[in-house]
């Protein structure tokens, strides 16, 4: 079985610079416009503490958007396994926007159709540009293991620090 890659997010590394948003809109619409970007940095800085979380389509195994689209405009790209919108078929009903747990799709006022991350055809621009290595494009079955390694590395570092102190 071929395992396709997905965009994964390392929240701790994200500094909220929004380069991903700008290059996404440049690549897909030829303009710098975060409000049309298919990836967003959700930022909160109340009381001075900054949290920034990149939000992008997770290309679900069982996408609600695909299942519930009344126009059958959403399908899998056989090349990349990305969940993609056929703009010709899309009727702009916002069903996908409402059912997605991440809020990944949005209806673009300029086109009147649903827009979402299509992995740039298998070579996501945002991943290439992220200056802080917070975005990765990795095989879906490796994501879990990678995260475990990240967690374990921290634990190891702690152990080593304690060892040094002894």
């Amino acid at each position: 079985m071929h395992v396709y890659s997905v965009i994964t997010v390392d929240v701790e590394k994200c500094t909220g610079c929004r380069t991903c948003e700008i290059v996404c809109s440049l690549k897909n619409y030829g303009e710098c416009n975060p409000s049309r970007a298919r990836i967003s940095i959700v930022r909160d800085e109340r009381d001075g503490l900054i949290s920034t979380i990149p939000v992008v389509c997770q290309q679900c195994a069982e996408p609600l958007c695909l299942e519930l689209c009344p126009a059958q405009a959403i399908s899998r790209d056989p090349q990349t396994n990305a969940v993609v919108v056929d703009e010709e078929k899309c009727i702009g009903c916002r069903t996908c926007v409402q059912v997605c747990p991440y809020g990944a799709p949005f209806v673009d006022p300029q086109t009147g159709t649903s827009q979402k991350c299509d992995l740039c055809g298998g070579d996501p621009t945002c991943v290439k540009w992220c200056p802080n290595d917070a975005l990765h494009f990795v095989p879906a079955d490796e994501e879990g293991l990678r995260r475990r390694r990240t967690g374990a590395t921290k634990y190891l570092e702690l152990l080593q620090t304690q060892g040094e102190q002894r």
Partner: protein
């Protein structure tokens, strides 16, 4: 299609509540944007009689063609107004995310004129522009203001610039704050907003910035990103931060250069160790929109709260006032940001009071009963509280150093002041409290003296600065240090063609370097990107990078020479404004007491110590490079004409200024600023050992 620009300059008359617009393209080719267009708008708007805090003053917020794009560090907005601190041209630059949002809403500049009858905030959402009541917001901190406005508009994405209570209270050095840690801090821009009854400017835009050739533009921006990330200094700023370098500068004796702690070692236990503080309380690294560097640190300290700190903030309310309590320092910085007051001005003012107290010139009776002992926590906090509130003795301080000196001079007999005004003891240039960088360093004295807003940050000679500070960088060996010093000397030689340009104990070549740095930072300021991404801070974007991005984005050829020429032009517009306000050669100086005093500590101890003659010689060289009259410091008529500023040249001529070169000027005649070739080469900042 107005590629790369929002396309519109928005005027808001606060007195009548009416707005008008004009195309940015009327100004774009000549002044590019940001600081450039701001300067031109200011030239046309203010005069010597303009009251900085009166309704006749205007305040301009300007973004550049690269603001909000994929160009590295594209976050900047430039804020200009007549300064209540200097009475000259005020200017401050702010990062964060406000500038980009203004572009997305379709505007490049916002000009506020007049005065609102009651507190308001300006709200822009694409084509919607309105003044909304800010009665409930008056008195709120900058943090709270942002939250309350976002709640009121039910828009968590709204980007807010606001003043705090200090700006409302018309403290002359009040600031304007954006996203946490970002401020337009210098020269009192917050007081100007306060005087206009404007609490905040709130923007939300969804229009986007059109780009002529998106693919070529992405490529040009990528090359610029790679250049920044490939610079050897990048790794350090990116992972450790620039504040760490400040600590290094302090230890080497060239930061916290005030006279007060001359030779004093107030922190023998190393309590001011910045790295220790970061390791204990640091939360995460952060930065501005579109920036790969992330030079700032986000902290969370139990019992105090969270905030963002970067750069110079480290030295001022610690070393300048001999406070070794880092928790107090942190709380004070957070207070500055919440209340909207300039940390630098506040710290240097307190330092001055403490020195006057230590010298026995003032006592507690003049300062509301507060004894201004070095390092006194009670004194620091009480003075800050009163200044922000503009109450009691704080009302005197809120007027600035000069006004405070007049108050002291009226109350202290002349013999107790050493026969001088108390102003003589203040670390200021044109009443603007100085940064911590030591003005005794040869070229830094020139940077301060000719600094276009009377501080050294715009026209800093980084080569010399760095060649002397290199030794104390963390993890560097003796060999690394020698290597770095040598490298800086080579760079200085390469730029100036003068053998000793990188050496500390000579004036040779300093004017050339300071002049060149002014051009480089000017380009970034006009483009709307961060001036740290120039060779100024060794993040090494060159005019070629800006020109390439502008060409691809605008769809017309912009050459490196074009952007350099625009930078020269804009500096002359700014100088012309200042000249109209009365600035002359004699105003381009540093505090007299700093002359001929060598560095007092660190490994540079005993070196430098610029004399008055040294400074005057460097000024001669600098004015010659700029095409300014040697006797008066006024841009010569021909210089302005060569820069394409004939109307300004004629305007000054009508005032009897800048007409003909002074006799002394032999040899400088063919160096008109318009033709001056600076011939930069794409060099890479290189630091050994990284």
């Amino acid at each position: 299609m107005t590629y790369l620009y929002g396309g519109t300059i928005l005027w808001v008359d606060l007195t009548t509540g009416t707005t008008s617009i004009r195309s940015t393209l009327d100004y774009a080719e000549k002044y590019i944007g940001g600081r450039g267009i701001n300067a031109r708008l200011m030239y046309d708007a203010i005069g010597p009689d303009t009251d900085p805090l009166g309704p006749d003053n205007v305040i301009v917020f300007g973004t550049g063609p690269l603001s909000g794009t994929a160009f590295p560090g594209c976050s900047r907005a430039d804020v200009m107004s007549k300064s209540p601190v200097t009475g000259l041209l005020g200017d401050a630059n702010i990062g964060g995310d406000w500038a980009a949002e203004l572009k997305y809403a379709g505007y490049d500049h916002v000009v506020l004129t007049g005065r609102a009858e009651h507190p308001v905030y300006l709200r822009i959402r694409n084509d919607l522009v309105e003044l909304r009541d800010a009665g409930e917001l008056w008195g709120q901190t900058t943090y709270e203001t942002r939250r309350l406005i976002q709640d009121e508009l039910d828009d968590p994405e709204a980007k807010v610039l606001s003043i705090g209570p200090a700006g409302e209270n018309l403290v002359s050095f009040a600031t304007i704050h954006g996203s946490v840690g970002n401020a337009a801090a210098r020269t009192g821009m917050g007081a100007v907003l306060g005087s206009k009854n404007v609490k905040a400017l709130v923007v939300r835009g969804t229009k986007g910035i059109p780009v002529a050739d998106p693919e070529a533009f992405l490529e040009a921006c990528k090359a610029a990103h790679d250049q920044v990330k490939g610079a050897d200094y990048y790794e350090e700023v990116h992972t450790i931060g620039v504040t760490n370098a400040e600590y290094a500068y302090v230890l080497s004796g060239i930061e916290a250069g005030g006279d007060g702690h001359e030779g004093l070692d107030f922190d023998p236990e190393g309590r001011t160790d910045y790295n220790a503080f970061w390791n204990k309380h640091g939360y995460k690294r952060t930065g501005c929109m579109g920036c790969p560097v992330h030079c700032m640190e986000n902290y969370s300290v139990p019992g105090v709260g969270a905030t963002v700190i970067s750069c110079e903030l480290y030295t001022q309310l610690t070393w300048e006032v001999q406070n070794a309590d880092m928790l107090l320092w942190y709380a004070l910085i957070r207070q500055c940001q919440e209340m909207g007051i300039d940390n630098t001005s506040m710290a240097l003012t307190i330092q001055w009071l403490m020195e006057l107290h230590a010298l026995g010139i003032i006592d507690a009776s003049l300062t509301d009963g507060i004894a201004m002992e070095w390092g006194s926590k009670e004194a620091i906090t009480a003075i800050m509280d009163r200044t922000i509130a503009n109450e009691g003795f704080g009302a005197v301080l809120a007027g600035g150093m000069k006004a405070t000196a007049e108050y002291f001079d009226a109350h202290v007999p002349e013999e107790r002041r050493g026969g001088r005004s108390t102003y003589w003891y203040a670390m200021q240039v044109n009443n603007n409290p100085m940064y911590g960088i030591n003005p005794r360093l040869t070229s830094m004295s020139l940077s301060y003296a000719i600094g276009r807003r009377s501080d050294c940050i715009q026209d800093l000679d980084m080569h010399q600065f760095d060649s002397v500070t290199a030794p104390v960088y963390p993890g560097w060996s003796e060999e690394d240090r020698a290597h770095a010093v040598e490298h800086e000397r080579e760079l200085a030689y390469e730029l100036t063609g003068k053998e000793r340009a990188g050496d500390p104990d000579t004036t040779e070549g300093k004017a050339d370097i300071v002049h060149d740095m002014g051009i480089q930072t000017g380009i970034a300021d006009m483009a709307g990107s961060c001036k740290w991404h120039t060779k100024w801070l060794f993040l090494y974007l060159m005019p070629e990078h800006y020109a390439a991005a502008l060409s691809a984005g605008l769809g017309r050829t912009v050459t490196p020479e074009d952007v350099e020429r625009a930078s020269l032009r804009v500096r002359n517009v700014e100088r012309a404004i200042e000249v109209k306000m009365g600035r002359r050669r004699e105003n381009d100086t540093i505090p007299e007491k700093e002359f001929s005093k060598p560095v007092s500590r660190g490994h540079m101890k005993g070196k430098h110590g610029v004399s008055r003659e040294d400074l005057e010689r460097m000024k001669d060289e600098y004015y010659t490079l700029r095409g300014w009259d040697l006797r008066t410091g006024v841009p010569r008529h021909q210089t302005l004409v060569d820069c394409g500023l004939k109307d300004i040249a004629d305007d000054l001529a009508e005032l009897g200024l800048g007409l003909e070169p002074f006799e002394l000027d032999a040899g400088g005649a063919d160096l008109g600023a318009g033709e001056k070739e600076t011939a930069p080469s794409a060099r890479q900042g290189r630091r050994p050992g990284t």
